[in-house]
Symmetry: C3
Subunit: 281 residues, 3 copies
């Protein structure tokens, strides 16, 4: 919509003409005496007074015209203001309606974001992240390598070798630590095999392969890993205090202390707990 | 943006001074006669008239000054109004642009909500909901129990036992009906096994295990189940009328009546159908 | 919120009364002479002047009253304007806040749209689209047919027959080409079988079954296929120029030319490349 054109206020014409009349009034001398003896007769004077009265009357009329013009302007400005106020009210209503809709949209997208994150994580439930295997050790067929490798390092956990659907390196080699190999993500055909591998790794505490330390983790979406990493600081403190903890999906910290389990949904809650334990210890 | 400061209207100074002049004009008597006989000469009178003329002229000038000041105020108010109207126009345009964007966002989130719901349901396509199995009957290994349990109650439907990836109780025991066991959700490795189980259950009409009635359902997202439950009332009426019906994914009611199939996407449509059948019956 | 009611500007009453006074001033003749000789005495004249002075004074007072009323109006209009300007400022702030939120929402929904599309495609990673198999040739059990059909046309690629979870025709027969059969979507239990089938089909270049040409493609979401189809024109040109190309997920064109690989994320980029090759050729 183009901006409304501004109507010039009506009746606001230059008032020069009226000022002119004012000067005429001020400078006008009494009319020349009309009697022949050159002395002002009373009739002359009365005419002068009458003329002044007429001039004043004329001025008063002009003044009133100007005032009426102004009043008319004021009235139309008041109407213009009224129209503007109605537009403002309409805009305010529209803004409020938009705010409600936007709040609703924010809730919906937050809901969808959580759903999508959950779907991403569910799609990774049969996946394992394997850290520490030197680059290239897998040869040219990662799946075949993994199906053989896991039963080897996890000993007799697998009755039959696991079936992998996919397995590949992820991310890029960190240029600052070129000897740190990239993670491997393994998708098992059956979720049970992923669980077997994680259970066996927990039981064995340390996995080694040709001198390399190997670690196994569930595979989670980038968002969930990011949320879990926020607890890294408080986890380090808990380790230092000898307190047991674990992560609950998606990113809740579960702490076992003095025979009680505590679940913290935010880092702040967990920090408070650590502080309170330190204080009472 | 802070609210604009309100500029005081210009020229709106107290007009006390001008009123003062008005009173002077009213009270001023004619100048003392300047001739010695104490009678007003014509020259005295003419001077008085001239003085009045000058006073009037002065008043008129003052009035015109005031009027010009007011006109100038009106002009600047008109400009101020013009500026305000332009801001309103801009805000109106912005609001319209926002409304379009918000409408688009509402469509997009609705599209995404449906997609996400569909993805959730797809992720459950190999899942079965099993109702009626008393709590704890499964022992400590739900998967092993189910792989044995299903071929038992479904007889010879499964050539080889189904492979389950996961199986667990869901939800919480209803405190008002503590003897009603929680549902069990079973994820089969292969969708075919889920279909076999549902087909067999439909064929057998009633499943019983150690005296307990067992029911099998497809596993659907909470949203889809919620949408399907809206048809519960109309389904009860159809059952009462002996009319066959079924659910189509995600939440459409399919009714077979008088040799014709009807698909209803909303409860209202289905209600209309029930009413029309009752009327013609 | 209802539109504010427009307050009538104060003091803008009809000024008829004051105009009346103006006419009185203009028409009023000098008072009748009070001396008996019917000639105006100087005292008569002075009274007339004094009367005129009083009338003028009265007029001036009336004028000033009107002007003061107007000034008061102007002041209240200025205040009203100030209030309106504050409301505009508030609305402008609200609009800016909304714009930020809406921009954020647009980013979030775009992020979610990509995530959802990716999830849809991931859910189809074990799926194959098979084109060209005449309608009805599959008989009544599509899965059983496919598990037998694929090893037959792909020769010895499959050591053991693939396990299919689902297989069905998709879409509708095109009424303009009724002899073109609908596509078949096959979901393999194991992604490896999908890959085996695609690899074997690529190796064999042309697949034929009972005289029909059969093609195999990865199964992608409608959105991704739509994005890939945008490259159809440029692909046809590349084929005409004998240049090798392929699609990278989700919809990037990879072109191998003069020993170099080029990846184009948009059709425009690919068009530019084709033009530059034509120019230099």
């Amino acid at each position: 919509m183009p901006p409304k054109t501004i109507k010039p206020a009506q009746h606001l014409k230059p008032s020069g003409q009226m000022e002119e009349e004012g000067k005429v009034l001020a400078s006008k001398k009494l009319a020349e005496p009309q009697s022949e003896d050159n002395a002002a007769t009373n009739d002359d004077i009365l005419r002068a007074v009458q003329s002044l009265r007429e001039d004043c009357s004329k001025q008063f009329t002009d003044t009133m015209d100007a005032i009426n013009g102004i009043k008319s302007d004021l009235l139309s400005q008041a109407q213009r203001m009224g129209a503007a106020e109605e537009r403002i009210s309409q805009a305010e209503e529209d803004v409020i309606a938009l705010q409600h809709k936007v709040n609703k949209l924010e809730e919906t997208t937050e809901f969808l974001r959580n759903k999508v994150q959950d779907l991403e994580d569910r799609g990774r439930r049969s996946n394992l992240r394997l850290l520490g295997l030197p680059e290239k050790m897998e040869g040219s067929n990662m799946c075949a390598f993994i199906e053989n490798f896991l039963p080897t390092i996890l000993r007799d956990e697998f009755g039959s070798p696991p079936v992998t659907e996919r397995a590949h390196r992820v991310g890029q080699v960190n240029p600052n630590r070129p000897s740190t190999p990239r993670a491997i993500v393994i998708k098992f055909l059956n979720y049970q095999d992923r669980e077997k591998a994680l259970r066996a790794a927990r039981k064995m505490k340390e996995l080694r392969y040709e001198g390399q330390r190997i670690s196994l983790f569930p595979d989670l979406s980038a968002e969930t890993r990011q949320r879990q990493r926020q607890f890294d600081g408080v986890k380090a403190q808990l380790r230092g205090m000898g307190i047991r903890y674990g992560m609950l999906y998606p990113a809740h910290l579960i702490v076992t202390h003095a025979g009680q389990q505590h679940v913290f949904k935010t880092v702040a809650e967990a920090d408070d707990f650590v502080r309170s334990v330190r204080t009472t210890a």
